[in-house]
């Protein structure tokens, strides 16, 4: 640096002899500063370039990592999809074999075995297919088919177990099912061949338009050669008859919106505000209201259009110090149910979750507890008011029934329970069993160790129909 300066200084001296010393020095200083500035700029520039280069490299590396990460994610997802696709293919192949074997056999023991296996295969196929990336509209019939086949075949197996044989109708339905499953199997195998030639499920599934989406075509029943949906008539899991239940408990006249509003105002005398919200169409037709009890408490109330009963109330209860105890809550719940047309009823189950008590209230008919007609009430212990009510089961099922009390006495039923269970009490109940079947039973409440069990014995035949175990969970009790 100083050499350069001297050289520059000399050249300056040669050119400008007249310039006096002082001014020369100041000029030199100025030049000096300018040069320093220039050098600073060069250093700054190189640092900046360096950082720029580094950050570009960093960005590149980051991008690279993310790309490879996302490739890994894609690959693992593709493997999950493939594994489920091949599982489904296996299950459908097996299902088809089991159905053919059932039809080929004339031994009822063997038919029962293959039907149970078919039911298992169908349910496995359903589980696999529900993991695949397909939209609900494409896949729902396939899920329904596998679910219904599973329910239908297990119902047939039960029929054989109870001593009956498969009739011609059953066999005809099984043949229809076999046909549909064969077509589905062919579609799936065709797609499996595509997978082998390198097609990816993930990429196929990105094809949103289902007309060009090979994958959804392979799994859907309405693909290129649409598969005929077999009709399965049975009372069992997933049968259509279970879904299409009708309302038995409402038969009177329709009321108007204004009348419904008056009813709501009558029930909620202390409400600050009642506003009409909307109408519900469907199984139950209702007028819906918003009831404001206080700033914290807002309820949603549905009133049936036929007969004008309160059908449901829902609201989140308040939190804070309890103003009533459980006994008081019990009478509030029973009074409300009674006021609303549920008479001659008693509380059959209660559970407290934080600040809310849930009561199940069942009506009685000649001393028999009608479990199918349960009304559920939720009382908030802080506000001391009803924050939940559900009478849908009641209005769906409640009618005056012809009930046979049977020959099994309460004492006989108690004696049937194993000796390691401590019997607490027993009573006559109408128990809802699988798929719209109602049976008069003797209910025996027992405990074993810390667990509570309920046994249900058929009051006519004395056979054990059901066992319920109370399962304590982190949030209240469950009946299983």
């Amino acid at each position: 640096m100083s050499d350069v300066l001297q050289v520059k200084q000399k050249s300056k001296d040669i050119r400008n002899d007249e310039i006096n010393e002082n001014s020369t020095i100041s000029q030199i200083n100025n030049k000096n500063r300018a040069i320093k500035k220039k050098n600073g700029a060069i250093i700054g520039l190189s640092i900046a370039t360096g950082i720029l280069a580094l950050s570009t490299i960093g960005l590149g590396i980051g991008f690279g990592i993310s790309q490879s990460n996302s490739m890994n994610y894609q690959n693992s997802l593709e493997s999950v999809y493939k594994s489920n696709f091949y599982s489904m293919l296996d299950s459908v192949n097996n299902l088809e074999t089991k159905l053919s074997k059932t039809l080929a056999s004339d031994s009822s023991t063997y038919q029962r075995k293959t039907l149970l296996e078919a039911s298992k295969n169908a349910s496995e196929a359903e589980i696999s297919v529900s993991f695949l990336p397909l939209s609900q509209s494409d896949i729902q019939d396939t899920i329904k088919l596998t679910n219904q086949i599973s329910g239908y075949t297990s119902t047939l197996a039960d029929k054989i177990a109870s001593g009956e044989n498969l009739d011609e109708d059953d066999k005809a339905t099984l043949e229809d099912i076999e046909q549909s499953i064969m077509q589905l199997k062919n579609q799936l195998n065709e797609y499996a061949r595509k997978l082998n030639s390198g097609v990816s499920i993930l990429e196929s599934s990105m094809e949103i338009d289902s007309n060009s989406n090979e994958f959804s075509k392979a799994l859907s029943l309405n693909g290129d050669n649409s598969i005929e949906y077999p009709t399965m008539i049975y009372d069992g899991p997933f049968s259509d008859s279970v879904v299409n239940t009708t309302v038995k408990g409402l038969k009177g006249n329709k009321i108007t919106k204004t009348e419904a509003m008056q009813d709501v105002q009558k029930y909620f005398k202390e409400a600050v505000d009642v506003t009409y919200e909307s109408e519900t169409k469907g199984k139950f037709e209702t007028y819906n209201f918003r009831v404001k009890n206080s700033d914290e408490e807002m309820l949603y109330v549905q009133v049936t259009q036929v007969e004008g009963h309160i059908l449901t109330i829902s609201g989140a209860g308040e939190e804070g110090e309890q103003s009533i105890d459980i006994e008081q809550a019990r009478s509030i719940a029973l009074d409300f149910a009674k006021e609303n047309g549920v008479e001659n009823a008693e509380i059959v189950w209660s559970d407290t979750i934080e600040n809310d008590v849930y009561f199940n209230i069942a009506p009685l008919q000649s001393g028999i507890v009608l479990y199918p007609d349960l009304v559920k009430v939720k009382i908030n212990l802080t506000s001391g008011t009803i924050v939940g009510y559900d009478a849908t089961s009641y209005f769906t099922n409640h009618t005056t029934r012809q009930l046979e009390k049977g020959s099994l006495t309460l004492e006989e039923a108690k004696a049937k329970v194993g000796s390691d269970y401590t019997v607490k009490q027993s009573r006559l109940v109408l128990s809802p069993l699988d798929y719209n079947r109602e049976v008069v039973c003797v209910e025996v409440e027992t405990t074993k160790g810390e667990n509570t069990y309920y046994f249900f014995y058929n009051a006519s035949s004395g056979e054990l129909e059901n066992v319920l175990k109370v399962i304590e969970t982190d949030n209240g009790n469950l009946l299983m």
């Binding site: 980051g62 359903e126 589980i127 990336p133 509209s137 519900t280 169409k281 559920k376």
Partner: protein, 228 residues
């Protein structure tokens, strides 16, 4: 020169910002991840004896096997935790107990209400801004799907079904639900269904699928239309 420098500096600045931005995007996936809260568990005298015996056998503890969880035992537990990649807190919680090969009595044998948890998460993620009934209705739709033949047959199966819920694909399902969401889920599990069997719902303001519009609508609650 100065201008060039400024230009360079601002370029550098933009570079840094974009770099940070990209990094942030890489990290985005974790935004909804949950915090794991460790819980302190008290151990019984019998359990303390087991802990002391095990630690003594493995050379972490030199004191007496007396069932008293004193400072020496605590020290030994810390030592054991640090050697085994556990959180070093000197407390035998579920994880440390598992590493010791024992089960604590305080670990509840009662069934976890995972169904309630999942349902509450779904309610919170899908409908936290909705009125209470709207939240019960979302949980009821999930349960109606479980019962329906056209959908998977478990709560988890329904919630995690591909393309079924947007909250699952965008990760909001992992948010921690509030108490209202739990209450709504609980009510639905207890049988409340303000939709009477609906299987679908959509927000008419944002729904894009033309297929969903063809379903028979039953009721509108808050911003959601519920349909069969």
């Amino acid at each position: 020169m100065k201008r060039k420098l400024m230009l360079l500096l601002s370029l550098l600045f933009i570079c840094c910002i974009s770099f940070a931005g990209t990094m942030a995007t890489f990290k985005m996936n974790n935004d909804y991840s949950q915090e794991i809260v460790s819980t302190e568990a008290a151990t019984t005298t019998a359990e303390n004896r087991t802990i002391q015996t095990k630690l003594k056998r493995w050379g972490y503890y030199n004191g007496a096997v007396d069932g008293i969880y004193g400072s020496q035992t605590r020290q030994a537990v810390r030592y054991f935790q640090s050697k085994n990649g556990l959180a070093v807190d000197g407390i035998v919680g579920p994880k440390t107990a598992a590493a010791l090969g024992m089960t604590l009595s305080s670990q509840k044998t009662s069934q976890s209400s995972s169904d309630l948890e999942l349902l509450a998460k779904c309610v919170y993620a899908e409908a936290r801004g909705e009125p209470y009934t709207g939240q019960v209705a979302i949980a009821a739709v999930v349960l109606n799907r479980v019962k329906s033949s056209s959908f998977p047959n478990t709560i988890a199966g329904v919630i995690y079904q591909p393309y079924a819920f947007t909250a699952v694909s965008d990760g909001q399902i992992n948010l921690t639900p509030n108490s209202t969401a739990y209450k709504a889920a609980q009510d639905a599990l207890n049988g409340w269904d303000p939709t009477y069997g609906c299987l679908y719902y959509y927000n008419p303001a944002t729904a894009t699928s033309s297929w969903i519009w063809s379903r028979q609508t039953v009721v509108t609650i808050g911003n959601h239309v519920f349909a069969l």
